[in-house]
C-alpha cells in the first residue's frame, strides 16, 4: 500500500523550487550507512566529502549514520541528497521516494558479492539438503546477505512459499543474533548448526578465534548480491547528478583517492550502476515484504 502514496508523498516534500529541472542545493549532503555486510566499517566520510567539494565547486557535507531508515527518510525529505546505501536500503529508498542509483562499489574486482553458509568442519553437513532439521543462525531479517538471499535461495530450492514455513518446517530452529559475527560465533560455539553471513565474516573474527578458518567451513554460496550503491534523490538537478557521477568516476584514476576509498570503505573502484541491476534484490524483498514473520 506504500507504493500508492509515493507520488503524492514526493510531491509534498519541500524541494525548494518547483523547477522541473530539479534543484541545486547550496550544500550537498551525503549520508553514509555502512553495510553490516562488510568486514570493516567506515566511521568518517570527511576525506571523500572534501574531495568531492573540490570537484563540484559546491560545499559537500558527509555524515555517517547507523540506521538506514533514517537515511531513507532523510533522502525522502531532501535533507540528504547523496546516499551511500546497501542494496536493500536502496530498494526501500527507491520504492518509497524514487531515489535513483547512479553508481556502485567494486570490491575485490566485482560489482557483486555473495553470502555464504558456514557450518562447523566436523558437523558432517555436506549439502544444503543436510540442513533440514538443523538450527539456523542469522543476524537479522533485514540483512540482505544474512537473511534475505539465503532464505530466498532455500525457499526456491526446497519449495517453501513463505519464510515462515522455511523457518518452522525446514529448519529445526532459528536464532536471531543481531550481527554476522554473532551468527558465526553461535555456530562455532554449537548454539546453531549453520550461519548465513557475508563473505567472509571469518576474517573479522580471526583475531579473537585464531582457529576459526579451520573450525568453520563454507558450505555453499548464494546468488550474486549487488554491492553498495551511491544513490541520489529524484529532485536533484540532472546536470548536477551527471557532474557528481563524473566526479566519482574520476576517482578511479586517482591513486590517492582509491587508496582512501580502499582503506576506509574497502572499495577498489567505482562503477556506473542502473536500477535494473537491483531488480534481483527488489524481487527478493517483494517475496518477503508482506509475509515476513514477526
Amino acid at each position: 500500500d506504500n507504493s500508492t502514496n509515493d507520488s503524492e508523498e514526493t510531491e509534498n516534500t519541500e524541494s525548494g523550487s518547483g523547477d522541473s529541472e530539479g534543484t541545486v542545493p547550496d550544500t550537498i549532503v551525503m549520508g553514509f550507512v555502512p553495510s553490516q555486510d562488510s568486514d570493516t566499517i567506515a566511521e568518517t566520510v570527511e576525506p571523500l566529502a572534501e574531495r568531492l567539494s573540490e570537484e563540484l565547486g559546491v560545499e559537500v557535507q558527509g555524515n555517517v549514520m547507523t540506521n538506514y531508515n533514517a537515511l531513507v527518510e532523510a533522502m525522502g525529505s531532501n535533507q540528504v541528497h547523496i546516499g551511500f546505501i546497501p542494496a536493500f536500503g536502496y530498494v526501500l529508498a527507491n520504492e518509497q521516494y524514487d531515489v535513483e542509483v547512479i553508481l556502485k562499489s567494486i570490491r575485490h574486482g566485482s560489482g557483486t558479492y555473495k553470502a555464504q553458509y558456514i557450518v562447523r568442519a566436523d558437523s558432517g553437513i555436506e549439502s544444503l539438503a543436510d540442513l533440514e532439521g538443523k538450527t539456523w543462525a542469522y543476524g537479522d531479517q533485514g540483512s540482505t546477505s544474512g537473511y534475505l538471499f539465503p532464505a530466498s535461495q532455500l525457499m526456491e530450492e526446497f519449495g517453501y512459499n513463505t519464510a515462515a514455513e522455511l523457518e518452522s518446517d525446514f529448519f529445526g530452529g532459528t536464532l536471531q543474533t543481531g550481527g554476522h559475527d554473532n551468527s558465526a560465533i553461535a555456530v562455532l560455539e554449537g548454539d546453531a548448526d549453520v550461519a548465513t553471513t557475508f563473505d567472509d565474516v571469518r576474517t573479522t573474527l580471526e583475531e579473537e578465534y585464531p582457529t576459526i578458518m579451520d573450525d568453520l567451513v563454507v558450505l555453499d554460496y548464494t546468488d550474486e548480491i549487488p554491492n553498495d550503491t551511491i544513490s541520489v534523490t529524484k529532485e536533484l538537478d540532472d546536470e548536477l547528478v551527471q557532474k557528481i557521477k563524473d566526479a566519482f568516476l574520476s576517482f578511479n584514476e586517482d591513486e590517492e583517492m582509491i587508496k582512501i576509498m580502499n582503506d576506509v570503505y574497502n572499495w577498489d573502484a567505482i562503477d556506473e550502476a542502473s536500477d535494473e541491476e537491483y531488480q534481483v534484490v527488489k524481487d527478493t524483498y517483494q517475496k518477503f515484504k508482506d509475509n515476513i514473520e514477526l
Partner: protein
C-alpha cells in the same frame, strides 16, 4: 512482671484488605514462578561461555587503544555539546509539562492525569523513531541529535519535576494567598524559589544521563560517541571500546563532580 498476660487479638484487617493482600501475594509469587520457569536461558552454558570468552574480551577492553584517543576525544566533545544543548532545552520544555502534571498545581485530578499521560507518552516513544523524525526535519547532523535528546529527556525530567512540585511546602503558598497575592505572584515568589534548586539539580543529572544517551546520536549521524560505539561493536574492536568507555567514565565523572559542587551551592 512474671504474671500471665494475653495480648489483645490482632485487629482483623478489613476483608477487602485481606483479600487484596492475598491476591497481590499470590500474583507476585505466580509472576516469579512464571518468569523463572518460562524464560529461555541456559545458565550453565552462559557461564561456560563467559569463562571461554573472558580472555578474548576483557584484557583487550582494559588495554585501551590509545591511537583512537584523538578521534574519541573529538566525538566526546561533540557529544557533550549536543547533550548540553539538548538537556537545557528539555529542562525548559519540561517545566510547563510538570506544572500540568503535578496534582497540587493546576487543581483538578483530571488535568494532572492528562499531564501525566502526556509525559508517559513522550517517554514511551523509542529513541530510534525520534531520531528518524528529527533527521527528516533538519537533516542528519548534530542538531537533529540535540532535538532528539531534548524530546527524549523531556518525558523523564517532566515526571521528576512534577514529583518535586508535589512535594513542596504548601504552607508557604497559603501564607502568600493570605496576604492577597494572586496566582502568578504565588508561582514566582512562593513556588519557584522552593523548586529551583531541585529542578536545576535534576537538569544537571539529566545532562550526565544524556551524555550516555549515545545510541540515538549514531542514528542521526551526529557523529557523537554513539557512532563509535556501534562501529567498535560491529568491528569487534574491544580495545577501541575500552578507549571509549574510559572517555565516557572520565567525562561523566568530571561532570558529576562539578555538578555535585554546583548542587551543593544552590540547594
Amino acid at each position: 512482671m512474671e504474671k500471665e498476660f494475653t495480648l489483645p487479638p490482632k485487629p482483623k484487617n478489613s476483608t477487602f484488605k485481606l483479600i487484596r493482600n492475598i491476591v497481590i501475594t499470590v500474583l507476585v509469587i505466580a509472576l516469579y514462578v512464571w518468569t523463572f520457569t518460562s524464560i529461555d536461558i541456559d545458565w550453565g552454558r552462559a557461564i561456560e561461555r563467559a569463562a571461554n570468552n573472558f580472555q578474548r574480551v576483557i584484557p583487550q577492553l582494559f588495554s585501551p587503544d590509545w591511537s583512537a584517543t584523538g578521534k574519541v576525544a573529538l566525538s566526546m566533545l561533540e557529544t557533550v555539546f549536543i547533550a548540553f544543548a539538548g538537556s537545557l532545552m528539555a529542562a525548559i520544555l519540561a517545566v510547563p509539562l510538570a506544572f500540568l502534571a503535578a496534582r497540587n498545581m493546576m487543581g483538578g485530578v483530571i488535568i494532572s492525569t492528562i499531564g501525566k499521560w502526556i509525559l508517559s507518552a513522550v517517554r514511551a516513544f523509542p529513541d530510534i523513531i525520534l531520531a528518524i523524525l528529527f533527521v527528516v526535519a533538519v537533516g542528519p547532523n548534530a542538531f537533529a541529535g540535540v532535538l532528539a535528546i531534548a524530546i527524549g529527556s523531556t518525558g523523564m525530567l517532566g515526571k521528576m519535576f512534577a514529583e518535586i512540585l508535589e512535594g513542596i511546602d504548601m504552607n508557604v503558598v497559603e501564607a502568600m494567598e493570605a496576604s492577597g497575592a494572586n496566582k502568578i505572584q504565588i508561582l514566582f515568589h512562593g513556588v519557584l524559589p522552593q523548586i529551583t534548586p531541585e529542578f536545576l539539580s535534576y537538569a544537571i543529572y539529566r545532562f550526565e544521563v544524556d551524555i550516555r544517551a549515545s545510541s540515538i546520536l549514531g542514528i542521526v549521524g551526529a557523529g557523537g560517541i554513539g557512532t563509535l560505539i556501534i562501529f567498535a561493536s560491529n568491528n569487534r574492536n574491544w580495545s577501541e571500546m575500552g578507549t571509549i568507555l574510559l572517555a565516557i567514565i572520565l567525562v561523566v565523572t568530571v561532570i558529576d563532580f562539578a555538578s555535585a559542587r554546583i548542587r551543593r551551592k544552590i540547594v
